[in-house]
Subunit: 249 residues, 2 copies
């Protein structure tokens, strides 16, 4: 729901809703969505928009029964069948508020399936606003024409993350260390399509953390080249590269 | 010169300078660099830092002759030989002020060799601050341990860009159109290592512009997958993918 949509016809509005979608299904948008539709976009009864809920594909819906505060949307026609998002998680050490917003937005556009904040020893951020992350993810999903919204996981310490890891899922560990292999090479070779990308905080993982990660057999240390990337750049570059080589890019 | 460096020892400071570097070469930093060194980092005579100029590799230098306002740096030892940055340009339609800063920073980290702003019919931005772009590029080069700073080109209209294009350089044209091939496939096939990535403004290229680009034999239309990416996401994803598959990633 960014300003750029202001110039778009109401027919191009896409909203994520929780309700079931189907022929003739009636959906009441939440307060923020109703405000956006009726007062920002100035939509009227009879205008059309798209709805998705992560399960039932994308539906063209008509605005019906407009009141001052809200309206009802009626599903008319399915315009896209539900698809599958590639099974890629992003496990990232949060750095600062603005970059986390940015990482969530970009990772959603790039088709991430779950976002997992991780606290490491050098992580300075102590609280994660999962609500805010989810709002950012929904907005990016609406704008990027995704049919799903990535799952926002509760933040975990690195230690807990490693102990509870589903061992059949490989982890592309973005590491500056010596023997890490180039990411494109690693991506081409990994056997499973269920992976996670793991990136550290701005100061990197500490040596004990690096050892702990590298000792896991699900961890695949990878390098992104000779330059030192910021944490958010590394996360997004890895995701883009995986999607291009193994995902739906 | 970001706040995160405040906690780093002065020995990790890296500065880009214009002056020639070599054994015993004396360099006077500019006013902003001197302020940063002496007042932000509180460096003293005898402290060491790294210098690079895009030509002579990286040098360890010692701070000598400190005055209130400035100091002299003396090159002591070459720590890295000059390397070559992959020959990738990014031609991008600027969108808003903050995103251009972001694109410059990220593209520099990802090893872009030249940044070319392009005005298209749907570009809303009318002025480009090349000085500011260059300052951002220098800062990102310092922090990412590059040995070069990307060239900042003067903004051109799309029309002029196409007319003056060096025809042996292929253009990965980020296109939402039907028959564009997946970028990883295109990257693997392109014969030349001299390429450019071309991305449009937030509303995309207009149909006449798309036709004009597609009619060029140096243009290779590529897609980044089923999602609609923001202009800056498309630019950075493309660059990361090219570097991983064909560059130095």
């Amino acid at each position: 729901m960014s300003p750029r949509e202001l110039s778009e016809p109401a027919g191009k509005v896409r909203l994520f809703v929780e309700a079931a979608l189907g022929d003739g299904a009636r959906v009441v948008p939440d307060d923020a969505q109703a405000h956006y539709l009726l007062h920002v976009m100035r939509a009227k009864a009879g205008d059309r928009l798209s709805l998705f809920n992560g399960r039932d594909g994308e539906w063209l819906a008509r605005i019906a029964e407009v009141s001052k505060r809200n309206c009802t949307l009626v599903c008319e026609k399915r315009t896209r069948a539900q698809d599958e998002t590639p099974d890629v998680w992003l496990c990232f050490a949060p750095v600062k508020k603005a970059p986390t917003d940015y990482v969530v937005q970009k990772a959603t556009e790039l088709g991430v399936c779950a976002l997992q904040p991780v606290f490491t020893r050098r992580t300075i951020v102590t609280r994660i606003n999962e609500e805010r992350m989810r709002a950012n993810a929904i907005e990016a999903a609406e704008q990027s024409e995704r049919l799903t919204v990535p799952e926002i996981r509760e933040a975990l310490t690195l230690d807990k993350l490693l102990r509870s890891w589903p061992r059949e899922r490989s982890v592309l560990f973005c590491d500056e260390g010596g023997d890490a292999q180039p990411i494109a090479k690693a991506a081409a070779k990994i056997e499973t399509n269920s992976i996670a990308i793991l990136t550290g905080p701005e100061g990197g993982f500490d040596p004990a953390e690096r050892d702990a990660i590298r000792s896991q057999d699900f961890a695949v240390p990878v390098t992104l080249g000779p330059r030192i990337l910021r944490a958010d750049t590394a996360a997004l570059a890895s995701l883009a590269i995986w999607q291009a080589i193994r995902g739906d890019g």
